[in-house]
Structure formats: C-alpha cells, structure tokens
Symmetry: D2
Subunit: 121 residues, 4 copies
C-alpha cells in the first residue's frame, strides 16, 4: 500500500516512536498479523468519508447523510475495539510478564484512559 | 470541488433523490450556505482516516491510534450535529408550515431515529 | 406516586420553572399522555441501579456488573430519546406556529445542545 | 449496607456465581478496597434517577430532564470505567500469572466484549 498524501496531523511525524508496543514472543507487534486486514478496513472507511463529501456536494437529504455518518462511526469503533483487544492481549500481558507492578499499573491506566475516550466519543 | 473516486457505497447512485430537503424560503437547501465549510471539514476527516492507515502501516503504538480514532469519531459527530441542527431548523419547520400533522409526525419520527443512531453509534 | 427522598441535585428546587414546555393544543404538556409510562420506566431503572449496588455489595463478577450498567445506560437513553421525540413534536412545532424566527432558532439551538450531550455522554 | 428491595432483574438471584473474579494476591477481590466508594457513587446515582421520576411527576421542562439523564449516564460510565480498570488490573493479570494462554485469551475476549457494550451503549 502506498500512502502519498501527507496529512498535517500529529501522526505523520518521522521521529522515532518513544513508547512502542513491546515485541511479542513471536517477534511481531501486537496487531501485525492483522495489519493488512486493518488497512483494508481503514481504506474502506476513508472511501465512506469521501462518499459523505460527495453527498454534501450533491446536496443529498440530510437524514441519509446522518445515517452514513453513523455507519462510519460504527466502523471506526469496530477498528478501535479490534486494536484494543490486540493491545490488551499483547501489551498488557507482556507488562505482566515483566513482573513490574509499576509497569502493569501504567499500562492499565493508559488502556483505561483510551477506553474512556472511546466510550465518551 | 471534484470527487473523482467512485465508492461502492449506497450514496453514489445517480437515481433522483426521492425525498429531498424541502426548499427553504430563500430558495436554498437547509445546509447549502455552509456547504463549503462542511466539505472542508469532511476533507480534513478523510485525511485523518488516511493518517490512521499510515499509522497502522508504520506499526505505530496502538494507544496512539486509538486516540486518533476517538478524535475522528468526535469530528464526525460534530459534522452530524451540525447537519442535524440545520435539518431541524429547515426541514421540520417547513413541515410545520405545511400544516399537515401527519407530515410533522413523519419528520419528527425520522429525525428521532437518526438521533438514536447517533446516540447509539 | 410519592417521592419522599430529597436529592441534593439541581432538579429538586422549588422555584418556578422559568421556561416551561408550551402548552400543546390539547391543553397538555408534551409528554403528559405518556407520563405514567415514563414513571414506570424510571422506576424500573431506579431498581436496576439499586441492583448494581447489591451486586457490588455481594462482590459479584465485575464483567456482570458492567453488563448491567450498559443495560441501564441503554434504558436511560431510551427514555431520553422518547422525551426528545415528544419535545421535538410539541415544543419546536409550537415555536414554529408562533411565527417568530428567533424563537424557532432558540428552540433548535437548545434541542441540538441537548442532543449533543446525549451523543457525547 | 442493607439493600432490602428485591428487583426482578437478573442480578438478584441467589445462585452461586459461576465465574468469580480470581482472588488477588492480597486475598481480596479486584475492587473490594474501593467497595464503599462504589456503593456511595451508586447510591448517589440511584437518587439522581429518583430525581428524574420527580421531574417527570412535576412535568418539568423536557430539556432539563434530558440534561439530568446525560449527567446520570456520565456518572454510570464513570463507575463502569472504574470497575473496568480494576478488572483489567486484577483479573486479566491474574490470568496472565496462571501462564495459560487460553485463560488469557478468554479474559481478553470477555473484557473486549464488555468494552464494546460500553462504547455502543
């Protein structure tokens, strides 16, 4: 996959990622085995968002646009829940394996804050 | 604005829209005055979704991806709430002006169902 | 129904309500015809919340408590959506009937803010 | 605390709880140290729900009732997020300590489903 567009958002910096997901026992990141599947889902969501622009351009009926937005929000939440499940499996349990209570505590607090943002968004 | 990409979603059909937003007294659709602003917001959200794909491609830290997804969901909800406000203003009140109780009832039920989808998505 | 408990929340003040729902053509408030039904639903939700306290008291399994909380949240949203539908029907349309653009605008803004709180809660 | 009311909901059965939170190393359930605090929060939410019944009884302005419902939903989500954080800390990590991959997987799937219900409720 090639992503030529450069977005001015915080996620496109080239600086090294300070806190990376710990490498799982199989030498892979938490979600790498499903990486292609996640990319396909995100590609499809990107197309759905583009479709919203087209609906607004075409002055489509407001309620139909709202229905599409709800569908996109659900799809994004599905991706987020999948990533979260992978994260809980690989990252927190790796932290548990390290035996450090502080590391576990930090991971749990971080995950809970991410969940809170999902629940409240 | 030109949108050359063709998405396989339900919103790209060329068939006439059966139920259009009633024309407001000033001869414009409910949200047309803000159309350009909505398109800019949707364009920006589309770029943010593309950024998620880039983050997955780069195997960025899961929690950072979740944070971005929550931001996109919030941005989409902001667009939806704006469209809904426009809709309530123009469409329902037009229905009220028509004096038909059944038309009002249909509009209110339709709007409530759209709100329910937003609340539960 | 008698409610003897006095809660320290904002809703128990005895001061007159500045902005009441306009009286509908049939001389009733927007939701009065369903008032008993709403009270029964709220009574049931109150019992479900009390059940959560009992579950915590009994140190029930955390996930089961979370499931119950989700059920209560859904039930509360159902009540909110019902009240909102009634509100849109009776209050906004009464505002429309008054012919005052400013009154309509104020009602629409107020309703949209309430919807935003529901969507984001 | 005594809770004498018997609710007809699923959470009041007297049957033994098949799957209990594993006992933490300190011999306590995951959330027992905060049990009193959770009970106070639930008591307060119960009172807020009762306040909603009072508002409906008094035919209070619909939008004010919606505002209160959003506040209750937020409070319930706060309790849920607290319980979830405790659960992630104590239960999942206990499962990790057991060394059984299947047990970890089951706990992660269960937690993710609970989170999905929270996100979508």
């Amino acid at each position: 996959m090639t992503l030529t567009a450069v977005e001015p958002s915080a996620d496109t910096t080239d600086e090294p990622i300070a806190e990376a997901c710990p490498i799982a026992p199989d030498g892979m990141h938490g979600y790498i085995s499903d990486q292609e599947r996640y990319l396909r889902r995100i590609n499809r969501i990107e197309g759905q968002v583009r479709g919203i622009g087209r609906m607004i351009d075409d002055e489509r009926y407001c309620i139909d646009i709202l229905t599409q937005i709800s569908a996109i929000t659900n799809a994004l939440e599905g991706v987020a829940l999948g990533l979260l499940e992978d994260h809980l499996r690989h990252c927190i349990l790796d932290a548990a394996g390290s035996g450090s209570g502080a590391a576990v505590e930090a991971k749990v607090a971080e995950a809970t804050q991410a969940i809170a943002r999902l629940v409240r968004s």
